[in-house]
C-alpha cells in the first residue's frame, strides 16, 4: 500500500457518508426489498377500535413493483393505508430529509430509528419514523403523526416464504385523539364521540412471490 493509498483512505474516513447514514440504512432496506417483484397474499384484518366496529375482514392482496396494489375481497375490506402493504420503496430517500434518531436493540438484533421528514410539503407521503433491523435490513416499526394529536404506529413481524422475509403480522396502534362530534340522526339522542383509539391487526398468509403477475390484474379500478 503506497502513501497515496493511505492518505486517500484517511480522507475517506473523515468524509461524511454519501447521502447520510440514515439514507444508507434506508437504502439497505429498500435494496433488500428489490428482490420482490410481485406477490399475492391472503390478508386478514382484525379491528379492535372503539370507534370502528367491523367483523374480521379477508382479502387477497396483489402487489407488483414499484407500487401497484390490487385488493380482491368478497365483502367490504379496509386496512391501514400506510402499513397494510409494507413497501420500503415508497420511502424514496430523495424525497425525505433523513436523520438517525437513535440505535437500539430489537428482538435481540441491532436496530436503528430514522426520522423521515418530507422535503417538499406537496410531496405525497407522510413524515414517519422507521425502525430498521440492521441485521436483516427489514422495517420492523413505522410510526407516524399525520396530524397534531394523532398518532399511529405499526410493529411488523416477519416470516420466511420461499426464501424471502415477508410480513406475517402487522400490529397497528392508533391514537387519533378525540373527535368532537355532535353528529346525530333525526330524532336520536345527542351523543359525543370519545377518542378514536385502538388496535388493528393485519395477518398475512399464503404468499406467492415473484410469480410474474400480469399488469392486467391491476388495470381494473380498485375501490380505494
Amino acid at each position: 500500500m503506497n502513501l497515496m493509498s493511505i492518505l486517500f483512505g484517511i480522507v475517506l474516513l473523515f468524509l461524511p457518508p454519501q447521502g447520510g447514514e440514515g439514507t444508507r440504512y434506508l437504502e439497505n432496506a429498500i435494496r433488500k426489498f428489490d428482490a420482490i417483484k410481485d406477490y399475492v397474499v391472503d390478508v386478514k384484518v382484525h379491528m379492535d377500535i372503539k370507534a370502528v366496529q367491523a367483523p374480521d375482514m379477508e382479502a387477497k392482496v396483489y402487489y407488483k413493483e414499484p407500487d401497484k396494489i390490487k385488493i380482491d375481497s368478497k365483502g367490504l375490506f379496509f386496512m391501514p393505508r400506510d402499513v397494510g402493504v409494507i413497501n420500503p420503496r415508497k420511502f424514496d430517500p430523495d424525497k425525505y430529509a433523513i436523520d438517525v434518531l437513535d440505535t437500539l436493540t430489537c428482538n435481540g438484533d441491532p436496530a436503528v430509528r430514522l426520522s423521515l421528514v418530507l422535503k417538499n410539503d406537496e410531496s405525497t407521503g407522510r413524515n414517519v419514523i422507521l425502525t430498521i433491523d440492521k441485521k436483516d435490513w427489514l422495517i420492523v416499526e413505522i410510526a407516524a403523526a399525520p396530524y397534531p394529536g394523532r398518532q399511529a404506529s405499526a410493529k411488523i413481524t416477519y416470516g420466511t416464504f420461499d426464501g424471502f422475509q415477508m410480513p406475517v403480522k402487522v400490529e397497528v396502534n392508533l391514537d387519533v385523539g378525540k373527535i368532537d362530534s355532535t353528529a346525530r340522526g333525526f330524532g336520536r339522542e345527542r351523543t359525543h364521540l370519545n377518542e378514536l383509539k385502538g388496535k388493528v391487526e393485519v395477518y398475512y398468509s399464503n404468499y406467492k412471490i415473484n410469480s410474474g403477475l400480469s399488469d392486467d390484474i391491476f388495470k381494473k379500478r380498485n375501490d380505494d
Partner: protein, 280 residues
C-alpha cells in the same frame, strides 16, 4: 265481509291512496338513478373519511347502504303521504255523508272506528313495506349487495354489518319504521275524527310533526328538556336497528313510547267518535 275488509276496500279503491305509492315509486327510482349516474363520486364521498387512513375495497355503495341513505327521507315526505290517507279516514265520510249510512247499521261505533284505525295501520304498513321493497329491489339491481357501512352517532362511530346481517337489519328497520310512521297516522286519524273536512287533519298533523321535529332539534336547554316528551324524538327507532350491537333496551323504550302515543291518539279518537253527534 268484515268491517276491516270493507274499510280496506274503500281505502284502496280511491285514487288518493295511490298518490303515496306513486310518489314513493318516483322518489326512489329518481334517487337511485341519480346515485347510479354519480356512483364513483358518491362512493368516494361516502368512503372519504376512511380513504385518508385506509385502503378500502369491496362494494361500498351497495343496496343496503343506498337503502339506509334513502330511508332518511322517511322523515320528509312519508309523514305527508300517510297523513294524506289517515287524515281522510273519518272526515271524508263525514263530508260526503256516507258516515251516516255506516252509523245506522248494526256495527257499533267502537267497531267501526277500530276497523278504520286498523285499515289506516294497514295502509301505513303497506306503504312502508312498498318503500322498503322498492329501495332494496332497485338497489340490488343497480348496485348489488355488500356489507353495510354506516356512520352513526356515539361509539362505535363506524359500523360494518356483513351483508347477510345488513339484510335482516334493514328488514327490521323497515318494520320499526312502520311503528314510527303509525304515530303520524294515528295523529292524523285523531284529527280526522274532530272535523268534517280532510284538509284540516292532513295539514294539522304535518304541522305538529314539523314543529315537534324543530323543537326537538333546537340546541337550547328548554327545548332539550322537551325532547323526551315529543313523539318525534322516538320516531328514529328504525335507526337503532341498524346500530351494532342493537341496544334492545333503547329499542324497547322507543317502541313502548311510540305504541303509547298510538294508543293515546287512538283512545282520544275513539272517545270523540263514539260520543259524537252526527249532524252532517
Amino acid at each position: 265481509m268484515s268491517l276491516f275488509s270493507i274499510e280496506v276496500q274503500k281505502t284502496f279503491r280511491r285514487w288518493r291512496t295511490y298518490i303515496g305509492f306513486a310518489v314513493i315509486l318516483a322518489a326512489v327510482v329518481l334517487l337511485e338513478v341519480i346515485i347510479k349516474l354519480n356512483e364513483t363520486q358518491m362512493a368516494r364521498s361516502f368512503a372519504g373519511g376512511l380513504n385518508s387512513d385506509f385502503l378500502v375495497s369491496g362494494n361500498v355503495l351497495n343496496a343496503w347502504v343506498i337503502t339506509a341513505f334513502i330511508m332518511n327521507s322517511l322523515y320528509i315526505h312519508v309523514p305527508f303521504l300517510i297523513a294524506l290517507v289517515a287524515g281522510d279516514m273519518v272526515s271524508s265520510e263525514a263530508t260526503s255523508g256516507t258516515l251516516r249510512f255506516m252509523l245506522i247499521r248494526p256495527p257499533s261505533r267502537s267497531r267501526i272506528i277500530s276497523a278504520k284505525f286498523l285499515a289506516m295501520l294497514f295502509y301505513t304498513a303497506l306503504l312502508i313495506l312498498f318503500f322498503g321493497v322498492l329501495c332494496i329491489g332497485i338497489g340490488l339491481l343497480f348496485f348489488g349487495g355488500g356489507d353495510l357501512i354506516k356512520f352513526q352517532p356515539g361509539l362505535p362511530h363506524i359500523v360494518v354489518l356483513p351483508a347477510h346481517i345488513a339484510a335482516s337489519r334493514t328488514g327490521l328497520a323497515f318494520i320499526a319504521a312502520i311503528l314510527s310512521m303509525s304515530v303520524v297516522g294515528s295523529l292524523a286519524f285523531l284529527f280526522s275524527t274532530l272535523v268534517d273536512n280532510s284538509i284540516g287533519p292532513i295539514i294539522g298533523s304535518i304541522a305538529v310533526v314539523i314543529v315537534s321535529f324543530i323543537l326537538g332539534n333546537l340546541p337550547f336547554e328548554f327545548t332539550e328538556s322537551m325532547r323526551p316528551y315529543l313523539f318525534t324524538t322516538y320516531m328514529g327507532i328504525w335507526q337503532l336497528l341498524l346500530d351494532n350491537p342493537i341496544d334492545w333496551a333503547e329499542v324497547g323504550k322507543y317502541a313502548l313510547v311510540l305504541l303509547g302515543y298510538d294508543a293515546a291518539f287512538f283512545a282520544v279518537a275513539y272517545y270523540v267518535f263514539v260520543r259524537k253527534d252526527i249532524k252532517s
